[in-house]
């Protein structure tokens, strides 16, 4: 993980206006993370949930990521939404290669992440077999909340100017959540 301390931003008081010191890189990261142009590569049923996330109820525009670009050359984030078949794999890779740097990839849904329940001749078992992926969003399909969580994880990574082409960290659970989940699980599993 990239070192975050060098990106420190400080607000200094002084007079009526005050001023902010920052590093150019941090500013760039901040600007990038709120102006993501997305390329939706929607192939299957997960597409519905993607549209739902993009529509006003969940409003992906709050994250500065509402503008879809249907040319890979103009987009920053590749959303791979749905099942990728072996036949489609070369297309997906070409789309990825056409995107200009910096670029990020989100695997939306179980199919894109690991092939899902398809285990056969037709389906790629996870798009990370073909292109590097930053965020995997599990779910069949994932709820919009999960999608927005994934998007925030990606923004976090962009804001840190972390350019390692690998998975971002999971969202940390709040204190005590794990025990609560375990308890819930025990209750549910009781006959």
């Amino acid at each position: 993980m990239a070192d975050v301390t060098h990106l420190e931003t400080r607000t200094l008081g002084g007079g009526e206006s005050g001023f902010v010191t920052t590093k150019f890189e941090a500013l760039l990261g901040w600007a990038r993370k709120y102006s993501l142009f997305q390329y939706p590569f929607a192939t299957a049923c997960c597409g519905m949930e993607f549209f739902s996330t993009a529509s006003p109820r969940y409003d992906i525009a709050r994250f500065g990521a509402e503008a879809p670009r249907f040319s890979p050359r103009q987009s920053d984030v590749l959303w791979v939404v749905g099942t990728i078949s072996q036949r489609q794999a070369p297309v997906l890779r070409r789309v990825y290669e056409q995107m200009t740097e910096p670029k990020w990839v989100i695997a939306f849904g179980t199919c894109a992440s690991c092939g899902g329940f398809y285990d056969n001749y037709a389906t790629v078992p996870g798009i990370d077999k073909i292109i590097p992926v930053d965020v995997f969003i599990p779910g069949c399909p994932p709820r919009p909340e999960a999608v927005l969580d994934g998007l925030m994880l990606l923004q976090d990574k962009i804001g840190r100017c972390d350019r390692t082409p690998e998975t971002v960290k999971n969202t940390a659970l709040p204190d005590g959540a794990e025990e609560a989940l375990e308890k819930l699980y025990q209750i549910r599993m009781k006959p």
Partner: protein, 193 residues
């Protein structure tokens, strides 16, 4: 009422209709492969059958690779479903082909809609349609070897067009390092790719 087609077929083709059955409005006739196109033509042209609407053409593989001979005589069952919009009745015509080089005449001259369906059957089962104007694969790609819906095709054999990337993918839970669900298959891990 729709048994009418079966009766017409039996009257017309006699012993070439091997078997007929009706179950809850599904009328099925099993015919000899040699008369496949004739039967299709009759069902389409005969004014009392009048099945001008082509619904589907597909196939299934009837062998069990564990016990049966892969070259058995009646391994592939190709069927066509035809419907009459005017008379509101439907019929399914089936035929059985040997496992070794299955060949059948095309029904495109009868219903031109059969074109892509026959390509699909060729792609998935390797049944060759004689007289088909464009016998290419339709769902898989030219590089694909074998026919995936044949029972002897390994259920989890993939033939990637793009070479898989090397290395660990550093996935976090809930995904595991060996992706894809085994679905209770007994295949050894190294067979899975």
């Amino acid at each position: 009422m729709s048994k009418l087609i079966l009766e017409r077929l039996k009257a017309q083709f006699g012993d070439d209709i091997l078997e007929v059955s009706s179950f809850r409005g599904d009328d099925v006739a099993l015919v000899k492969p040699a008369r496949w196109v004739d039967v299709a033509r009759f069902v389409h042209d005969d004014p009392r059958c009048d099945c001008t609407y082509f619904v589907d053409l597909s196939a299934n593989d009837r062998c069990d690779p564990r016990t049966d001979d892969l070259d058995m005589d009646d391994r592939f069952e190709v069927y066509v479903i035809a419907y009459s919009v005017a008379k509101k009745h439907r019929v399914r015509i089936k035929t059985r082909l040997p496992g070794d080089e299955p060949r059948l005449a095309t029904v495109i001259p009868v219903w031109s809609g059969a074109n892509w369906m026959e390509r699909e059957v060729f792609d998935m089962f390797g049944v060759h349609f004689e007289g088909h104007p464009d016998q290419r694969r339709i769902l898989t790609y030219d590089e694909f070897k074998g026919h995936p819906l044949r029972k002897d095709y390994p259920a989890n054999r993939a033939q990637p067009l793009v070479e898989y990337r090397e290395g660990t993918f550093n996935k976090l839970g809930p995904f595991l390092q060996d992706e894809g669900m085994p679905l209770n298959r007994s295949a050894a891990p190294d067979e899975r790719n």
